[in-house]
């Protein structure tokens, strides 16, 4: 069964949510680059249910935010809220209620081989977030250099 289906994000994730609620784990193909450099466009990932009290910083989760679905990394959490970030993003942090958490990423697939998400992946991911100001500076400098090159 391999006919390619293109559906809008929200409809698709509502099915993912139904399957997770039904107790299934769900494999699907990512669309977009918001989690680069750790997850790439068209990469397959595996999601499973998680209790909101068991989330840890650095984990990648599927949650609802402003009536949309996000697959982003937890960078901070307190009793009631999760603070999520797309690894590719340099500015935005999404604050969402813990009851809007749907699933956690168990791992990803590289060349159809399952690679489990580990404690090390959490550390690397959160470190990537901590150096966000440096990444922003590098981005600014690169942009400026390109601009100067174009003007010259």
């Amino acid at each position: 069964m391999n006919n390619r289906v293109v559906v809008d994000n929200d409809s698709f994730f509502s099915v993912v949510e139904q399957e997770i609620t039904a107790g299934n784990t769900v494999r699907f193909q990512l669309k977009g680059n918001s989690m680069e450099p750790f997850l790439n466009d068209k990469q397959n990932i595996l999601l499973t249910h998680i209790n909101a009290s068991k989330t840890r910083i650095g984990e990648i989760v599927l949650a609802k935010w402003k009536n949309k679905y996000l697959l982003h990394r937890i960078v901070y959490q307190n009793e009631h809220y999760l603070y999520l970030v797309g690894d590719h993003n340099l500015v935005q942090i999404e604050k969402t209620r813990k009851e809007d958490l749907i699933a956690i990423m168990k791992g990803s697939y590289t060349a159809d081989k399952f690679v489990k998400f580990t404690h090390w992946d959490r550390i690397v991911g959160i470190s990537w977030f901590i150096i966000r100001p440096l990444r922003r500076c590098k981005n600014l400098i690169t942009r400026k250099l390109i601009q100067e090159k174009q003007e010259a």
Partner: protein, 89 residues
């Protein structure tokens, strides 16, 4: 023949697709799409023993089409079901 009972039909937006849960895992990267007529037939034939004629009768009743058209459409849909191993004898 019968439809495989382990498959699930889902509606996503305007699309219908069949997913195959395997030991508690649903692979949404591999799905099979159905049009509205095929999805209607899929729902109507759930859990029933059927052949081309009995499936065509369902389409005639629902869409008020003639026998020949219904049989032709049904055959196309059932051939597709069979080719994708969505049925069992």
């Amino acid at each position: 023949m019968k439809l495989r009972a382990d498959l699930t039909l889902r509606k996503v937006g305007n699309e219908y697709f069949i997913v195959e849960p395997d030991q508690g895992m649903v692979d949404l990267s591999k799905v099979f799409t159905l049009n509205e007529t095929a999805a209607f037939l899929w729902n109507s034939l759930q859990g029933k023993e059927f052949d081309s004629q009995s499936a065509a009768d369902i389409l005639i009743q629902e869409y008020q089409i003639d026998q020949d058209t219904a049989l032709k459409d049904t055959q196309k849909i059932l051939d597709m079901f069979k080719s994708q191993s969505l049925t069992r004898d």
